[in-house]
Symmetry: D2
């Protein structure tokens, strides 16, 4: 597609920004946990319907897909994820979330869009609106996909299993993006592996309960859990080569309900990361070896239970598609705002769509923070401490130009694949 | 009082047992956490009223006291505690609790009478009934006191602060008892210190949150908590003489809500025990030193917060009153069922009543488990593993003769102090 | 024996003190490790010979026994141990040791009489001298036994195995004593168990060595050892009742020889204490369980090796003999200087002699520090920090009246058993 | 230089191999620790002298440099290191070392050439011999430098400080090489950073000593050391990004000398690695923070002492010189045996020579193990476990073709820089 086409499609964006900002603020104020995104899904479906999409809801529980069949040409899937996290917002924003919800363990937890999925959803809603409003400019089929449960695992796979492609058709290419703590206005990507593979494990350590004053009648699961957490550190520090990236994080640990009662079990939720699926398997085996050894050392009445709650492979970009798209981004945003992405230890189930469909996919990152502040912090070595990362309770993207950039990336990417009207073969 | 008097007062007990068993089962099925014992308190108040007591409710929030003024003579306070614990019952009993409640942190928790306070309440209700039904046999004033919040701290002190003695009068002696995993039918006591002093501390370890895949941007509170728990073990293993009893238990540890989010804090609930109030102070200082040092080692953004949630001094029996009562018990139960109590690492706020009133108090233990099984387990060295201790999810007293024994102890103790009718000066 | 006899026997003690002080200083300056006490043994044997004893050397490697057959009557064995420790003296004394030696592992180590065996030997040498010089005053056989290798284990048992009683005859009673950080001039004892049972274990943890920069090719024994040491703390803190004394100490831990080489094994020397032989067995089993579990958790190529280097049962005093001797000490030293001993967590192989001979034995403690300082430190709660304990590098007894007291205790104890001259049947 | 020249210079190598093998076996059997390499230095100096070099000994204590002034042309420094390690050899080789020595702490330790410096010395001795025997073929000055103390730090810097360049002249380029567990016959290099920066720290943790049975009078340095070792793991596992290589190894840990004595200090030797000098500084600060925090948590009487024993910056190859040499190696060994080197977490002080002289330097790696076995192990994922790494007690290079390859690399590299005879300007 020509630059002129792109300019025409994007022309109404400036005027649409207040409306998109309102959508973003509304989503931010009403975060919903994985697979409970009913309010979010309803609002996004409503907008797709208004824009003339054929709308499919409830795919993979709370997923929404809008289909816009606009003549001959390639089918482009644009994907955004929509779920929030059990984090207590501490941004101090006027539109900060005060919402609470019930997690999958039945716990009452605070909620926050601490990973920016509210921005992802707003971007895609905006891009869908612009593309729907400019059907004369392109030819093909647009799939605007809002995926639930990215944080919980099984969001993408669940949609595929639930008949996604049978219902809405199979795409020719899949595009997705993520907001990161980089300079607003920047777009970053790379060919090949871009994000890590990850396992989420739920480990139950079995002890023997009793009165807090008589530990000798018990096997104390708090002490067992503590020892496990410290020994798990050695997987990265001792069992992994320095040049081989790996992460083992115990994100949650819960033992007992009273100071003077020794509980009979502890529950750890563990998340691992690697840029190689084989390494991930090795991490899992090391975890199992450690928890079993520690339970034996503690004299536990039974071995620990290790459940794989979720497992994502690496997010890998098709090399040719990635290189091509990078050129398109450079043309649109300029080379100074189109950067090579670093390896990101975060994980995604985005790749699931391309893998399941057997088609190329490309994932990129969009900066969402004050460019001056981010660059100064990087230069002065304060980036890690001063710029809140994804999942932080202080994760607070700036709205401008962030809102605009993420809409433009999706539009530009889609247009790079669509055919010109009346030119069926597309690219 | 003569043995004949005692026999007459206790004569209706056999027939009353089915009713007491029903009360026990009902209380067991409906456990209530500290200071929320409204159903329990209402039922116990109802019975006191039926028995002709002047009933005071809502003392120290949910406390109940029945007053029976029965002529000249000493005032005897019999005390039972009534609150349950956040433990999930695993006894397999037909009347096992399936109740849940909300703890002081707002957490939804399972509930169980895992410390036998349901038995304590039943015993006192039964003894109050028998003494009320035999007013001709004794002279004096009986205070039947049902105390809330023993597990949470401040139950006894709260009743005193709330004007207990101003409302119901000041006792001349205070008696109390606790069910223990000893042979049913046995009564155990000792002069001087019988139960431990205890602190309950709530420790908040402050970290810095972030994404689970980027630990380098965080200070991980799960790792900090784990290190603290292991280092706390050294207070007993290295800082306390082998011959000086002390316990430091981390009963609960809670960090985070998701596997892939590093939380910004951890909360530990710690319970300590010693048989000397000075040692308790030393334990507290060691805990503070350790958590501060560990937070510094971890690079925590702020020092830990250590709150003293509850603090009980030692439970100490007045030596003369204890010796005298032991003789009375020997006369009633026989020497073979009246045993010297060991030092019990459990704690109690029972002593608060005698201390506040400036009068002697005596506390004793009553066995509640199958005598044959307990003795065999002791003999074969399997007591610790085979007999569930107080606070265990498997704590399941046998009803007979346990119900009977604990009623008899209270009646016998009270009668040992009351005057004969018409003989005002009493003992 | 009468007080007059005792006074006559002890009369030369005052004049002998400079000579005894010189002996003590000489022994203190020349400490020798277990079973290498050749210089010490030669000097003590020389003195016995001078005093007219029949001298047996080389019993149980470096043990020395002087036999003085002085007519009819009981045979009294007085025992002192003579070995030093691998500790670097930091007392600042003018006669501080600067000696070094080679330990059983071939390591070059500093040497110090940090447990006061130099005082024990001096006491017994002095008592032997006085008793030899006053043969007219008593009748019987005196065995003055200098035992090697008390610190290493097997010192007493080794002498017995080496034919001790066959060579020197069987005693009717065995006496021994130990210097402790109590007030000089005080004697402390108790019937029954007085000192702990103890195990000394040598644990080899097997890892896999390699370059320090490539831990992923190794199983790091330093990390394994660290985890084991922390987990061993839980045996006392979690597996032992608060009222049951027990100690588990890792006295030495050695891993590796260079910063940048990961070693292939670690060696821990562990010492345990309990006042009940069955508890000691339980501690040993817990240690084995923990080291095996930790090795499994670490992925160790083979299970740890646990060797029992030494094992002493409890030191227990014959109740009747102890009570009788306590009365004798009270008569001699006064009640204010004859105190009940606390349970001492230290251990001894002294009991081996009485056990092997099938006769009563009594062991007592003698204070060796400035009385004013010790009592002030106790009163002000600074005893633990201000008074160096046995095995401390600052263990520095005051010479007076310590030297005198320990000679008197042995003489008084022996005389309490000997017959009067011409009265063969003794007591 | 032409290939023909190279062939002529290398022609005598085949015949010289038995002699070189004998030298290697002799050096292997007689390993010497850093700065005590007197026997090794004497033998190497003897050979240089025989070959007609001007020989300088004792530079930087035990360093040896042979100077061969052979007409106009560049000065090329070829460097080999010669010290061994305190490792007990377990190769089972017929020529395995059984030597022992005394380390810098006065400890008696086993010795082994576990890092292949015996091979390095043999290679350089062989190359010096060939170049000396072919003076007609090249023009320039050859510096054959045998460096002591590479393992201890300060070997290279010590030679420079001791007037190296003033004594032997300043080179125009510096070449060095290291044997690695890769296929024998392979040469590996890369431009820029090739090996890690490293710190060696010696940490003394101060406790308070005492008797093993009375831990409450002590601050136990074994427990403190254990806690420090586990917490040090978190520097890599939690404080370092997954994509940023770093290593923190506690290579040695020594506490105490007897099971029943609690020592008053512990000594840890820690080695760190990073590929960025700034990261190394961060690691050091984290270590200091952790040891101080842990000492505070333990109630240590004084803060730990942290000494920097050695510190090496990254080993970085001059990009142009490296690229040029890689081409030369490809020409000589073939592309299939000239591989890109991985980032090596090992460290070197080789770069010190080029840095101090202000000239380019290039360092490369030479495989030394059976090619078939190494490649099979790599393919089957058993490389880490099956191929002993440098510093392993089983490090056993194959002699052929290893001996030949490392001589050829040095000769080829030197010739690539020397002028043709009579052509003074060289390259």
């Amino acid at each position: 597609m020509t630059t002129e086409t792109t300019e025409r499609v994007l022309a109404p964006l400036e005027a649409a920004l207040p409306e998109l900002e309102a959508l973003y603020v509304d989503l931010h104020r009403h975060p919903e946990l994985a697979f409970t995104e009913t309010r979010t899904a309803a609002e996004l479906a409503r907008r797709l319907t208004e824009d003339g999409f054929e709308v499919h809801t409830g795919i993979g529980r709370t997923g929404v897909v809008g289909v816009l069949r606009n003549g001959e040409g390639p089918t482009v899937l644009l994907r955004a994820d929509i779920d929030a996290l059990p984090v207590e917002e501490q941004t101090g924003l006027s539109y900060a979330s005060t919402a609470r919800g019930v997690d999958s363990e039945g716990r009452d937890v605070p909620l926050m869009h601490a990973c920016g999925h509210d921005m992802h959803a707003t971007w895609l809603s905006g891009a869908a609106h612009l593309l729907a409003a400019s059907r004369d400019e392109w030819s093909g089929t647009l799939l605007a996909l809002f995926q639930p449960g990215e944080e919980a695992g099984d969001g993408a796979a669940g949609m595929v299993r639930d008949g996604l492609f049978e219902r809405v058709g199979r795409p020719d290419v899949v595009f997705g993006q993520h907001i990161v703590p980089g300079p607003a206005g920047w777009v970053l990507t790379r060919p090949g592996v871009i994000m890590a593979a990850t396992d989420t494990l739920r480990i139950t350590l079995h002890g023997r309960g009793g009165h807090g004053s008589r530990p000798e009648t018990t096997v104390d699961p708090a002490v067992l859990a503590a020892s496990v957490v410290l020994k798990l550190q050695t997987i990265v520090s001792r069992e992994t080569a320095a040049t081989e990236p790996a992460v083992v994080t115990v994100g949650s640990m819960h033992v007992g309900t009273a100071a003077n009662v020794i509980a009979d079990h502890a529950v750890l939720e563990v998340n691992t990361r690697a840029f190689d699926d084989a390494v991930l398997v090795r991490l899992r085996k090391a975890i199992e070896r450690i928890v079993n050894g520690e339970a034996a050392a503690a004299g536990a009445p039974q071995p620990p239970t290790v459940e794989v709650v979720a497992s994502y492979p690496v997010t890998a970009n098709d090399a040719a598609a990635s290189d091509e798209l990078t050129e398109v981004f450079r043309g649109h945003f300029g080379a100074e705002a189109t950067m090579p992405a670093p390896l990101v230890t975060g994980s995604e189930d985005f790749s699931e769509f391309g893998r399941a469909a057997g088609v190329p996919s490309v994932f990129w990152l969009v900066g969402g923070f004050d460019a001056q502040q981010v660059i100064t912090a990087m230069t002065e070595g304060r980036f890690e401490t001063d710029v809140p990362s994804n999942h932080s309770s202080k994760f607070a993207p700036v709205l401008h130009p962030t809102l605009r950039t993420g809409v433009e990336t999706l539009v530009v990417a889609a247009l790079s694949r669509f055919a010109r009207p009346g030119v069926a073969e597309g690219r």
